[in-house]
Each structure stands twice: as structure tokens, then as C-alpha cells.
Amino acid sequence: MPTKVRIPTPLRKLTNNEELVEVAASTVGDAITELQTRYPGIKERLIDEAGEVRRFVNVYVNEEDIRFLQNQGTPIKDGDEISIIPAIAGG
């Protein structure tokens, strides 16, 4: 069973309106690279020039913020779920 990635509304134009896509990758960083090969242009929306996840993007693996895990190096396995969510909300 591959890893599911939840695509937020602002990026669904790139994924042909797919809300949930599947990847086979071993880390969050690899998953983003795989997304880029399938949906060109998606990586630059998530990753800044310095290679870091953009300031206003939060990425979660199974509900945990990857900044509390190993950022883009966070390992993922079959059945995990990655959520990409705009950081600007709440408060």
C-alpha cells in the first residue's frame, strides 16, 4: 500500500483537481520529488530557493508536523498519509 498525499485546494489545479494522490517514496522529500515528476511545477510551490519547505506551508505525516519529526528527511512507509496544508489559518 503506497503513501497517500492530501493536496490542498490552492494546488489542485496542478493535480487535475485530484484531492488525494498516491506516491511510493521513502521520505517526505522524495515524495515531493515524485509529485514534481507527475505534476510539474508543484515543487516550487512547496519548496523555496534555499531548498526549505516554504514559510507558509505546513506538512504533516500522520497528523504530526514534520518540523517535530525530521523535516524533509522524515521517513514514510506504506499506509502513511501526508497532508500539505496552508499555514495561514486560525488564531
Binding site: T9, F56, D65, P86, A89, G90
Partner: protein, 413 residues
């Protein structure tokens, strides 16, 4: 209102229910036509209007007259001489949103704007992710407007705050997790259902409502921008909007552009913004909250980055205080000014005390404390910490015995 504009890249968007830029996820902000506003808005025009936050209507993002929360705002600004003396500063004012209408917190300001705008955009269901006060305000204001409300809160909130949402007939959903998890879920729900989430897809409008607190402070000080303002920080949004309100006041010539400092207050148990400010960083590290100040317990603050920027720009400081200091802050404000604030007010008062003691707020200066919520909603936080009533029989003799014991104790003390 002219458009929505990304704060990061400047791309413009129509005035719809949308909050992030499609290109860099930056926050969208309302753009105004200040030249037009300057012609319509003067001190005398404002002073001739009813005493509510809507007297600054041109600077709030609705297309027509507001329809929800028209009585909100214009809360008292109290000259707090006794507290000033206790904290050792020349002049101190308390902006008391603990008595805001109708739900006793500053959130009535933002909700009034968000729900008025939601109605203009045709929404029938409104929602929010909340640490309590916002849920109360959405529930109450939606009830009076005949809108359906879903409010999402951490399941372990104070009883007072939970009941204060249920009583209005709102759908209250308790999430087993902390606020950041509630927020993440709500961002996902908002993307899926066509509801007006006041602090998600309606956030550009909602957040602007906070400016009214700053406008009122300036007007109530006799059209003067205060030297120092101490603001509690959860997402950091209120701090950025108070700063923006002073900028707009100066830009429109409603008050002289005198220097101001907007200081930020957090609890040590959830201090991502103040820790970053004290370390001189312009980004914050998310934390897992653990504090009695549940209304400020946001470990991943949406406006943290901008709050840091505003404090840098206004040459201001951040500070944080422990749970014991928060309770002491609540008592200081209550015992000196007769104002019972919730835990966030304890944070603000205790942080002001610290900033004055450390000289970062000079003792010769004037300070405004923004008190954002009411102590009656967070009784759990102080229960058992401010003494117990003494019980006696209905007997004059017993009462006099008690008094004379008190007098003896006072003499020997």
C-alpha cells in the same frame, strides 16, 4: 475595499472567501483606497457616530452597512493609576475588552466583521477553529443573525468556555488534541465544505476587525497614539493589527505620527513568538503548548512571522511568563483596578510588569494594556489560588470575634 492582495508576492485576487495565495501560500490582505477614505473620514465624522467599533466603518472590510454585531466595541479605556503605581510606571491605561458585547472578549470585533462579510457573500453556515473565546462569539453572533454555526475546539477547554458556546445552539465539536490540531483539521474541512470559516477562508476580513481595538485606544486617548501597547499573542494577529491601526490613523492624519512600540506577551508554556524575538530571530520554532493560558495556546502561530516583523519595526519587545506569574497578573489587575480578566489578561499584565522592571518600558512612559477576555470564563485557572471565604454562624458575636482576631493578626504582622 478594492481587492485581496498577497502579502508576499503582491498578486491580487477578487474579494471572495479565500485566504491564501495560490502561488506561494502567502496570506491575502484587504486593499483599501486610502485617498477615498481620507476624504470621507475625519475626527468629527467619527465622533458624530454611535459608540461602537463600526464608527471606523470605512477602515473595516465590508461592502455595505454591517448586519451582524452592529453594537460591538467601544469598550472602556480605564486610567489605571493604582496599577501604574504597583508596576512602577508613570501612566497606565487598560483597554477593557473583558466587557465587550455580546460575549465578553475582543473576538466579538473580528466575528462581527467576518459574519457581516459572510452574509454579503451569501453564506448560510459559519464555522471556526477556536481556543474558546472565538467559538463563544461565533456561536452567539450566528444565533442572532440566524446563521448555522459549527465551532471546533480542543476537547479539554475550560467548562465555562464550552458551555458558553453550547448555550447558543451551535454545533460544538471537541477535538481530542491541542489547538494546532484543531486548526489543521479545520483547514482541511474548509477546503472541502462550502462554509464561511471565520479564521480560515474568511481570515482576510476577520483579522481586520482587530484594528478597531487600536482605533478606539487612539480616539479614547484624545487622538494620540500610545507610546507603549502590550498585546497578548496567540496567532500574533492582534499584535499586527493594532500596529496596522496606528499606521492607518497616522496615514489618514487622524493623529500625529508619534513613535509607538507594540510589545508582545505570551505564556512561557507556549512561547514560540517571544522565544524567537528574544533570540533575535525572524522566524519561530513551533512548540507543543502546556499552559493555563489556553486561549493563547497556539504552538504554530499563523502570524508569528509578521508579529516578529512588527515588533522589530516598532522597536518593541516580547516576553513570557509562567503559570504562577499569570495568576499573579490576574490578581494584580483585579485587586488594583477591579477588573477580572481571563488568563490571557494575566499574561498581559505580568508581561507588562516584567518589561517595566527590566527597563524595556521606561518608568517615565505611558502604557496601554490590551485586556482581551473575561475572568468569569476561566474560573478553573484561579480556583483555589485566591483564598477561600470564611464561614461563620449568623451571630454578631462570632463576627466580632473574627474581626478582633484579624486586628490582632494585623498588629502582630
Amino acid at each position: 475595499m478594492k481587492a485581496l492582495k498577497c502579502r508576499e508576492c503582491g498578486r491580487e485576487y477578487p474579494l471572495a472567501a479565500t485566504h491564501v495565495c495560490e502561488f506561494d501560500f502567502g496570506p491575502l490582505e484587504v486593499v483599501y483606497d486610502y485617498a477615498l477614505i481620507k476624504r470621507a473620514l475625519s475626527r468629527s465624522a467619527i465622533e458624530s457616530r454611535p459608540e461602537t467599533m463600526w464608527r471606523y466603518r470605512e477602515l473595516l472590510p465590508v461592502a455595505d452597512d454591517p448586519t451582524v454585531g452592529v453594537e460591538v466595541g467601544f469598550t472602556p479605556l480605564i486610567k489605571a493609576d493604582r496599577l501604574a503605581k504597583a508596576l512602577g510606571v508613570r501612566e497606565l491605561w487598560v483597554k477593557n475588552d473583558a466587557v465587550n458585547y455580546p460575549t465578553l472578549s475582543f473576538k466579538d470585533r473580528v466575528v462581527s466583521v467576518a459574519l457581516s462579510r459572510a452574509r454579503e457573500l451569501g453564506f448560510k453556515t459559519v464555522a471556526c477553529a477556536s481556543t474558546g473565546n472565538l467559538a463563544n462569539s461565533v456561536a452567539a453572533n450566528a444565533a442572532s443573525a440566524g446563521l448555522k454555526a459549527y465551532v471546533f475546539i480542543p476537547a479539554d477547554l475550560e467548562q465555562g468556555k464550552i458551555l458558553n458556546s453550547l448555550v447558543y445552539g451551535a454545533q460544538v465539536v471537541g477535538i481530542r488534541g491541542h489547538y494546532d490540531e484543531v486548526n489543521r483539521l479545520c483547514a482541511e474541512i474548509a477546503g472541502k465544505y462550502g462554509w464561511a470559516f471565520v479564521n480560515v477562508n474568511m481570515r482576510p476580513y476577520y483579522a481586520e476587525g482587530s484594528k478597531s481595538m487600536g482605533f478606539e485606544i487612539v480616539e479614547q486617548l484624545g487622538w494620540q497614539i500610545p507610546q507603549h501597547t502590550v498585546v497578548p499573542m496567540a496567532s500574533g494577529s492582534l499584535l499586527t493589527k493594532v500596529h496596522k491601526s496606528y499606521q492607518e490613523i497616522a496615514k489618514l492624519g487622524l493623529a500625529d505620527e508619534t513613535p509607538w512600540h507594540v510589545h508582545g506577551a505570551q505564556a512561557t508554556g507556549c512561547n514560540p513568538i517571544s522565544a524567537a524575538q528574544k533570540a533575535g530571530l525572524d522566524f519561530f520554532k513551533p512548540v507543543k503548548p502546556n499552559t493555563i493560558a489556553k486561549s493563547l495556546a497556539i504552538g504554530t502561530p499563523a502570524d508569528g512571522f509578521y508579529a516578529l516583523k512588527v515588533m522589530k519595526e516598532s522597536n518593541a519587545h516580547a516576553e513570557d511568563v509562567t503559570d504562577d506569574e499569570i495568576r499573579e497578573g490576574i490578581c494584580l489587575l483585579a485587586e488594583h483596578e477591579g477588573i477580572f480578566a481571563e488568563t490571557a489578561g494575566g499574561v498581559t499584565t505580568a508581561v507588562a510588569k516584567k518589561l517595566i522592571a527590566s527597563g524595556r518600558i521606561p518608568t517615565k512612559d505611558s502604557v496601554v494594556l490590551c485586556i482581551t477576555g473575561n475572568g468569569l470564563k476561566t474560573l478553573d485557572a484561579v480556583a483555589g489560588h485566591c483564598g477561600q471565604p470564611r464561614e461563620i454562624k449568623p451571630s454578631l458575636r462570632e463576627f466580632e470575634c473574627m474581626l478582633s482576631a484579624d486586628e490582632k493578626a494585623a498588629v502582630s504582622a
